[in-house]
C-alpha cells in the first residue's frame, strides 16, 4: 500500500502537538527524580527528602509520570496520528478533544496532589495506604479520557473496513487497536478497584477495604499494562522499522499473529505478580504462570521476524556474509529519516535482556529469589525503560518534525541519545540485578539505612555495587538531557520543510493472506473465555478468604486515620 504524506487540519495538528509536547515536558520531572533516586539508593543522599521532595514522593512522581502519564498520552497521540494517516477519514473533533481534555485535567490533578505530598503511595497505590481522593479522581479521568479517544477510532475503522472489502487492515492500525483492546480490558478491573473500592473509602464513605481483592484487581490491570506499553513499540517495529532499515517486513502473517496472541494472552496472567501473596491458591498461580510462558511466544516470533527483516534491509544495502551484514544497517546516519533506526534497534537489543529476565520472573521457582528486590526495576528498565521508552521518545520527536515541518535540530546529538541510553541502562540494570540477587529491596530509601555506614542495617556489598547503578543512572540522565535539547530545540526552531504527517511504511516480503489473523472477533471471544476461566475463582477466593478489612492509613503514621484525633 502506498501512502502519501498527509496535510493536517489546524485542530488535528494542535491535538497531536498537545498530546506529544505535554507528556514530554512532564517527563522532565519524572526523569529528574529517576536520577536523584539512584543517589538516594547509593547512600550519596542520606535523608528523607532532597530539595523539598520526599524520597517516596519523588518515587511516586517517577512512576506515575514515566510509566502511566507519558505512555498513555503518547499511545493516544500516536493512535490519533495513525488513524488520521492510514484510514484517511478524519476523526470526530469534539470527541477527540473531550478525551484529550479529560486526560489533561486528570493528569494535572494527580500531579498537583503528588507535588503537595498528599499521595506518597507510589504508582501502585496499594491500600490501605491512602491518597487524597483527588489523586484517584485524576487517575480515573486519565483512563476514561483514553477510552473516549479509543472509542473515537472505531467508526473510522469500521468505515474503512466497509469501503475496502477483502483488503487487509494496515499493520499499524491492527497494532494500535490491539494495544487499546488490551488497555480497555485491563482498565475495567482497575476502574472497579478505584471507583468501587478505593474512592468511596478515601472519601470516608466506607470504613474498610479488602486489601487482597484490591491487590488482585490491580495486577489484573498491572500485567496487561506492560503490553499496552509494548504494543505501540511493536507497531513501530512491524510497520515502520523494516522500511527504515532499507528492507521489507519478513512476514506479514507473523505480525498479525503476534498482535492477536497479545490480545488473547496479555490479561489472564496477572497472578504471576502475586506468587508471594497469601490468600490465593498456588494452583491458580501456576495456571497464570503457564499462560505467562505462552505470551512469550509472540515475542520470540517477533525477534526472529524483525531480525530477518533487518537482514533483508542490510543485504539490499550491500551487506554480505553470515553476520557481517549487521554492519550495513544505518547505525549512525543522520541523513533523512534514518536517525530513527538506532532508537528502535537499540531498544530491541535491550529487550533481549528484558525478555529473558521476564521469563525468569515468571518462573515460580526463581521468583522467590527476586520478588520485590531491585532485580525487578533492573528488569523493567530493559523493557519499559528499553524498547518502549526509546520508541516513544523517538516517535514523539518524529511526529513533531513531520507535522511542524522542522527538521531535527542537532542531528549528531540526537543520534547519541539512544547509544548513551543503552549504555546507561546496561550499567544501571547490571548493578540492580546483582544487588537484587543479594536481596536488596526495591522502592526503598536505601541511603537512610542500608547504604549508610552509620546505620546498624548497613550492607557493605549493596553500597559497593550501587556505584555501578549511579554511573548508569548518570549516563541515562545525560542521555535525556541531550534528548530534551534536541526535542525542544527542534520544537522552537523555524519551519523549513512541508508540514505533513508521514510515517515509514514497510512492505511485506512474504505477504500471506490468512483470514483467521485478520479479524478481531474470534480472538475477542476467546479472550473473554480465557479471562473468565483464569480470574473467576481467584477473585471469588480473595473476596471470601479475607477475614478482615483494613482501615485507611497515611504513610507517615502507624495509627489508622480514623483513630487519630
Amino acid at each position: 500500500m502506498n501512502f502519501v504524506p498527509l496535510s493536517l487540519s489546524k485542530s488535528d495538528r494542535n491535538l497531536l502537538l498537545v498530546q506529544i509536547v505535554f507528556p514530554v515536558s512532564l517527563l522532565i520531572l519524572g526523569i529528574y527524580h529517576g536520577f536523584i533516586q539512584v543517589l538516594y539508593r547509593a547512600g550519596i543522599i542520606q535523608s528523607q527528602s532532597f530539595l523539598g521532595l520526599d524520597y517516596y514522593q519523588g518515587l511516586t512522581l517517577h512512576g506515575v509520570i514515566n510509566a502511566i502519564v507519558f505512555t498513555t498520552f503518547f499511545a493516544v497521540g500516536f493512535g490519533n496520528a495513525l488513524i488520521l494517516y492510514y484510514l484517511r477519514s478524519g476523526l470526530c473533533r469534539t470527541t477527540a478533544w473531550v478525551g484529550n481534555i479529560m486526560m489533561l485535567v486528570g493528569t494535572l490533578l494527580a500531579a498537583a496532589i503528588i507535588l503537595a505530598g498528599k499521595a506518597n503511595i507510589l504508582y501502585t497505590f496499594y491500600p490501605p495506604l491512602k491518597g487524597h481522593p483527588l489523586f484517584y479522581i485524576g487517575a480515573v479521568l486519565l483512563v476514561i479520557g483514553s477510552w473516549v479517544s479509543f472509542f473515537n477510532w472505531i467508526p473510522p475503522y469500521l468505515k474503512w473496513r466497509r469501503e475496502n472489502p477483502g483488503k487487509k487492515t494496515p499493520m499499524a492500525i491492527l497494532g494500535i487497536f490491539a494495544s487499546f483492546i488490551v488497555w480497555f480490558i485491563a482498565t475495567l478491573p482497575l476502574a472497579f478497584e478505584v471507583l468501587v473500592l478505593l474512592l468511596p473509602w478515601s472519601l470516608g464513605w466506607t470504613d474498610e477495604v479488602n486489601v487482597t481483592l484490591a491487590r488482585t484487581l490491580f495486577w489484573f490491570f498491572g500485567h496487561p499494562l506492560v503490553y499496552f506499553w509494548l504494543l505501540p513499540a511493536y507497531t513501530m517495529y512491524y510497520a515502520m522499522l523494516p522500511k527504515i532499515a532499507g528492507g521489507k517486513l519478513y512476514s506479514d502473517f507473523a505480525g498479525r499473529l503476534a498482535f492477536m496472541l497479545f490480545i488473547l494472552l496479555s490479561c489472564p496472567i496477572g497472578l504471576h505478580h502475586q506468587y508471594s501473596d497469601p490468600g490465593i491458591q498456588s494452583s491458580w498461580k501456576w495456571f497464570h504462570g503457564i499462560l505467562t510462558f505462552c505470551v512469550a511466544l509472540p515475542s520470540f516470533i517477533t525477534a526472529f521476524t524483525l531480525a530477518a527483516s533487518m537482514e533483508i534491509g542490510a543485504r539490499s544495502r550491500g551487506g554480505k556474509g553470515l553476520f557481517a551484514w549487521w554492519a550495513k544497517l544505518p547505525h549512525w546516519n543522520s541523513k533523512g529519516d534514518q536517525w530513527l533506526f538506532p532508537y528502535l534497534f537499540l531498544g530491541l537489543i535491550l529487550f533481549l535482556f528484558g525478555g529473558i529476565t521476564g521469563i525468569i520472573n515468571a518462573s515460580a521457582a526463581m521468583n522467590g529469589l527476586i520478588h520485590n528486590t531491585s532485580w525487578v526495576p533492573a528488569h523493567f528498565h530493559t523493557t519499559l525503560g528499553g524498547p518502549v521508552f526509546l520508541a516513544f521518545i523517538a516517535m514523539s520527536l518524529w511526529m513533531v518534525v513531520k507535522i511542524l515541518g522542522k527538521p531535527v535540530r542537532y542531528p549528531r546529538l540526537n543520534l547519541s541519545v539512544p547509544y548513551l541510553w543503552i549504555l546507561g541502562v546496561v550499567f544501571f540494570s547490571t548493578g540492580m540485578s546483582v544487588t537484587g540477587l543479594m536481596g536488596e529491596p526495591r522502592r526503598t530509601n536505601m541511603g537512610m539505612t542500608f547504604t549508610n555506614p552509620e546505620s546498624p542495617l548497613f550492607h557493605e556489598g549493596w553500597k559497593f555495587i550501587s556505584h555501578f547503578v549511579v554511573i548508569g543512572g548518570t549516563i541515562m540522565f545525560l542521555s535525556m538531557i541531550a534528548y530534551f535539547i534536541v526535542f525542544f530545540g527542534t520544537l522552537f526552531s523555524s519551519k523549513t520543510e512541508d508540514d505533513r504527517l508521514d510515517f515509514p511504511n514497510a512492505e511485506p516480503f512474504h505477504d500471506e493472506n490468512i483470514s483467521w489473523v485478520q479479524n478481531f472477533k474470534p480472538w475477542l471471544v476467546a479472550t473473554a473465555l480465557v479471562l473468565a476461566v483464569a480470574y473467576t475463582i481467584p477473585l471469588l477466593e480473595v473476596y471470601k478468604g479475607t477475614k478482615k478489612g483494613a482501615p485507611a492509613y497515611s504513610p507517615d503514621n502507624p495509627i489508622p486515620l480514623r483513630d487519630q484525633k
Binding site: 528523607q48 491458591q281 520470540f300
Partner: protein, 269 residues
C-alpha cells in the same frame, strides 16, 4: 499463500524452548519442593508475634512455630532465636498496611497483607545471624523495618521453653499507662525489652543519661518525657530519625504514660 517454513520452524523451536523451561519448573516442584505461597485457611488471624518451640524427644530436635506480625515499621518479634537444622513453620500477617519479608540465606519471600495469613517452611543449616527486612513500601519508615533470626548451634540437648521470654511484671497503677502505649502505637518503634527498633527503647528510660542530637547530654526526667511526647522532634536523641508523629494526648493520659515509664527503671524486671 502459505506460512513460510522458516516461520514455522521458529514457532516450533520457541515453543520447545518454553516447554523445556516449564519442564524445569515442574521438576523443581517435584524434586526440590519449589512452590509458590499458598492459601492458608486453618490458621486464625493473629495480632501478636509468638515463637513456640516444640521439642521432639525421640530425635532431640526442635521444631518451631513462629508467628510474625509486620507493622509500621517493625516486625514482632524483631529477633527470633532458633536452633540450626530445625524446621520452622513461619506464619506472617500484617496489622496495618501491606509489608513483605525476604529472609537472608533462604528462598523465603512473602507478602504480609492485612486480613490474611501467609506461610512458608524454612530451616537454617548453619548457626549465625540471618537478617530479614521489609521489601514492600509501607510508609515513611519503610527503610528501617528489619529483624533477624539468631541461629544457635544444635550441639547438646535443648529443652522446651528455652526461648520463652519472661513477661514483664507491671503494677496495677501503671497498667493504664501501658494500655495507652498500645493504643497510640508507641510500641511499634519503642521496645520494652531493650531491643533497638526505630526509636530509643523504653527499658530503663527514666533517669537514664542520654546524648541528644545537638551534642548536649541530659538526664531523662518527667518534664523531658512529657515534652518529647507532645513535641517529638524538638529534642531528638542522637542517632535516630525524626519519624515520630506529633501526638495529641490529654494531660491525664500523659501522666499515666509517664508513670508507667517511671516503673521501667533499670533493674526493674
Amino acid at each position: 499463500m502459505q506460512i513460510h517454513w522458516t516461520e514455522k520452524l521458529v514457532a516450533v523451536i520457541a515453543s520447545g524452548l518454553l516447554l523445556s523451561f516449564l519442564a524445569a519448573l515442574i521438576a523443581g516442584y517435584y524434586f526440590y519442593d519449589l512452590d509458590v505461597a499458598d492459601c492458608v485457611t486453618d490458621v486464625p488471624l493473629f495480632s501478636k508475634g509468638e515463637v513456640h518451640q516444640i521439642f521432639d524427644p525421640t530425635n532431640y530436635r526442635s521444631k518451631y512455630e513462629v508467628k510474625v506480625v509486620a507493622k509500621m515499621w517493625t516486625f514482632d518479634p524483631p529477633v527470633i532465636e532458633v536452633v540450626a537444622g530445625s524446621d520452622i513453620d513461619f506464619y506472617l500477617t500484617s496489622t496495618d498496611v501491606i509489608h513483605g519479608v525476604i529472609i537472608q540465606g533462604t528462598n523465603v519471600n512473602l507478602m504480609a497483607v492485612p486480613g490474611v495469613v501467609n506461610f512458608a517452611r524454612l530451616s537454617f543449616d548453619q548457626p549465625g545471624e540471618y537478617s530479614f527486612l521489609c521489601h514492600e513500601y509501607c510508609g515513611s519508615g519503610h527503610q528501617s523495618m528489619a529483624g533477624k533470626f539468631v541461629v544457635k548451634s544444635n550441639e547438646g540437648v535443648y529443652r522446651p521453653g528455652d526461648i520463652a521470654t519472661a513477661p514483664v511484671a507491671i503494677s496495677s497503677a501503671a497498667l493504664a499507662g501501658r494500655a495507652l502505649l498500645d493504643k497510640n502505637g508507641c510500641l511499634a518503634c519503642h521496645s520494652l525489652d531493650g531491643t533497638p527498633i526505630l526509636a530509643p527503647t523504653f527499658k530503663g528510660i527514666f533517669g537514664r543519661t542520654q546524648s541528644l542530637s545537638d551534642g548536649s547530654n541530659i538526664v531523662i526526667d518527667e518534664a523531658y518525657l512529657k515534652d518529647s511526647i507532645l513535641h517529638p522532634t524538638a529534642k531528638m536523641v542522637k542517632g535516630y530519625q525524626p519519624l515520630m508523629p506529633q501526638m495529641n494526648i490529654p494531660e491525664s493520659d500523659l501522666q499515666a504514660i509517664v508513670d508507667y515509664l517511671k516503673s521501667m527503671k533499670v533493674g526493674t524486671p
